[in-house]
Subunit: 143 residues, 2 copies
């Protein structure tokens, strides 16, 4: 289940930039696209958006590229999800009925609300940096 491709691309790209930046000041789209097997031009759009939203920074010109800024590692996953997928999926009724509320719950509501809240909590409290620290460097092979 079930995040958009954009979310996955964005997350993996940021992780890659953060890790590579430890030894290398700039990372270019070309490199990210190749290493992470992401369509280059599509990735361009995503990283441009991430830069505009100040999740990462970018520099044009020769020796340009993308690089982390002060906020990068403390970005919560929820913020990323907001940018790529929007937050409606967390807030609206799972059956897309008018309004998810405890007074007039849809048939699924009581079965799903706890699970959903746990997910929201995880997305709110987990940051980019958390992912890197917890899994150590090992997973660079699997992003």
């Amino acid at each position: 289940m079930f995040f958009s491709k954009s979310f996955g691309y964005a997350l993996r790209s940021i992780l890659y930039v953060v890790m590579v930046n430890e030894t290398q000041p700039r990372v270019q789209i070309q490199e990210v696209a190749e290493r992470l097997q992401i369509p280059k031009h599509f990735l361009g759009k995503i990283m441009k958006m991430l830069a505009k939203e100040k999740i990462i920074d970018s520099a044009k010109g020769p020796f340009g590229g993308f690089f982390v800024n002060d906020g990068t590692v403390s970005t919560p996953l929820l913020r990323l999800m907001e940018l790529t997928d929007g937050l409606e999926q967390f807030q609206e009724c799972s059956l897309r009925l008018k309004k998810c509320n405890a007074d007039k719950p849809c048939p699924m509501h009581n079965r799903i609300v706890q699970n959903r809240n746990e997910l929201i909590t995880m997305f709110s409290s987990t940051t980019i940096g958390d992912l890197i620290r917890s899994d150590d460097k090992k997973f660079i092979n699997s992003i």
Copy 2:
């Protein structure tokens, strides 16, 4: 979050048929579509599929329509999900990497696997009948 519209339509329609069938032997697409505010022709496709898969039964001709069968109320939600959305979303990596496995977990894996398993358990163990019993008749206004 984040079931397909088809899943929502299917679930609500079945619930409606089950409940109405207590006092009325057949239910027609027209009626379901109006009461549940679902596009009629699209609903036709879905209910045809549900009938073919024996989740409900159908009868053509005058006084025809859809009606429950012996298995309807004991259908697990997971079976419904399988028919409308497929089960891949439960099985594959949330970042759509090759294979979700504990040996080479993606960065999200450990953050999400428990939540996902809880969801699978709920979908496996909850049936159409469960939904009707637990919420009693009240929610007929909100399907």
